[in-house]
């Protein structure tokens, strides 16, 4: 993955996006043994997906939404646990929550190295078909598509400011992640 062009991250700051994208890359290499490839930006959410949502709160506020199609989730779960995990099971929520948690933990460390203090929320998990997570339009966000040998997935990075942090979600059923 090569990250060189600030325009790639518009309208979210390059520092925030790079922290998330590098954390995603390193997490996938460490956990699954392959490096995700950075594809074109893509706002579509086709098919059945499981979504991990985790927030950072502190000097800045931000959230990452990790959107994983069913086929990719099943493959990642097999690699992570060395056993078949039913897509509809609570264990699948656990796994997507844990991946989100590990990525966000890495982002916290990367931001700290830039002098920005943040703390992690607990992850939340949502599931749906053709689902999308919506934030207020005035909050900058950036959706990015990745591919790897385990399948495609997307991340959405949302940047927020103190006093302007809320979310609205449509078309999804929430359950608390055990991540």
């Amino acid at each position: 993955m090569s990250i060189t062009n600030d325009a790639l991250f518009f309208p979210v700051s390059p520092e925030l996006c790079i922290s998330f994208y590098e954390a995603i890359k390193e997490t996938f290499v460490a956990m699954f043994g392959n490096e995700p490839v950075f594809l074109e930006s893509d706002e579509s959410h086709p098919g059945e997906i499981i979504i991990g949502i985790i927030s950072l709160v502190g000097d800045i506020k931000s959230s990452m939404i990790l959107m994983v199609p069913k086929s990719t989730a099943t493959t990642l779960a097999l690699k992570f646990t060395c056993s078949d995990i039913d897509y509809d099971s609570p264990d699948m929520s656990d796994i997507i929550g844990e991946i989100s948690n590990i990525i966000a933990g890495d982002v916290v460390a990367r931001l700290k190295a830039r002098g920005i203090w943040t703390a992690l929320s607990l992850p939340m998990i949502a599931r749906g078909t053709d689902a999308k997570v919506q934030w207020p339009s005035e909050l900058p966000s950036r959706t990015q598509r990745f591919t790897s040998s385990d399948g495609e997935f997307r991340s959405k990075i949302v940047a927020g400011w103190p006093g302007q942090w809320w979310k609205k979600v449509s078309g999804l059923n929430y359950n608390s992640a055990q991540g």
Partner: protein
């Protein structure tokens, strides 16, 4: 050597991964007790019941730091090795867990079986022989 281990994580999958990793080290024969929060772990905690504890940081109800604080507050349990297993990896968090609160070892997720074996092997070498 038989070790009674308490594994505390709100993720059932992560508890399973920690337990499998420990079994694969071959360092000891482990007997596991699981808890999904610090509060449940405290409820199960009892002097002389566990030889070692593995605890996550971010959990609902009572987090890993609060759990360690409670365990370290009693002279009956303050000697038990506690391994923090977490995605928190900043130096400040490591220092808080290790220096301020009193975790015995710190493993960041995702961990490799080799990291688990090295950390636990180091702790076992320091433990009094039965």
């Amino acid at each position: 050597m038989k070790l009674r281990a308490l594994v505390v994580d709100d993720s059932r999958v992560m508890r399973g991964i920690v337990m499998n990793s420990l079994r694969k080290t071959g360092l000891a024969e482990f007997e596991f007790t699981e808890a999904e929060s610090g509060a449940e772990a405290i409820a199960k905690f009892h002097p002389d019941r566990f030889d070692i504890v593995f605890v996550d940081w971010n959990m609902p109800q009572m987090n890993g730091i609060e759990f360690i604080n409670l365990v370290r507050a009693s002279h009956k349990t303050d000697h038990i090795p506690i391994v923090m297993v977490t995605s928190e990896k900043t130096k400040e968090k490591v220092d808080l867990a290790m220096k301020t609160v009193g975790a015995t070892a710190y493993i960041t997720k995702p961990f490799t079986p080799e990291e688990m074996e090295m950390q636990v092997g180091r702790l076992l070498a320091l433990m009094p022989k039965a």
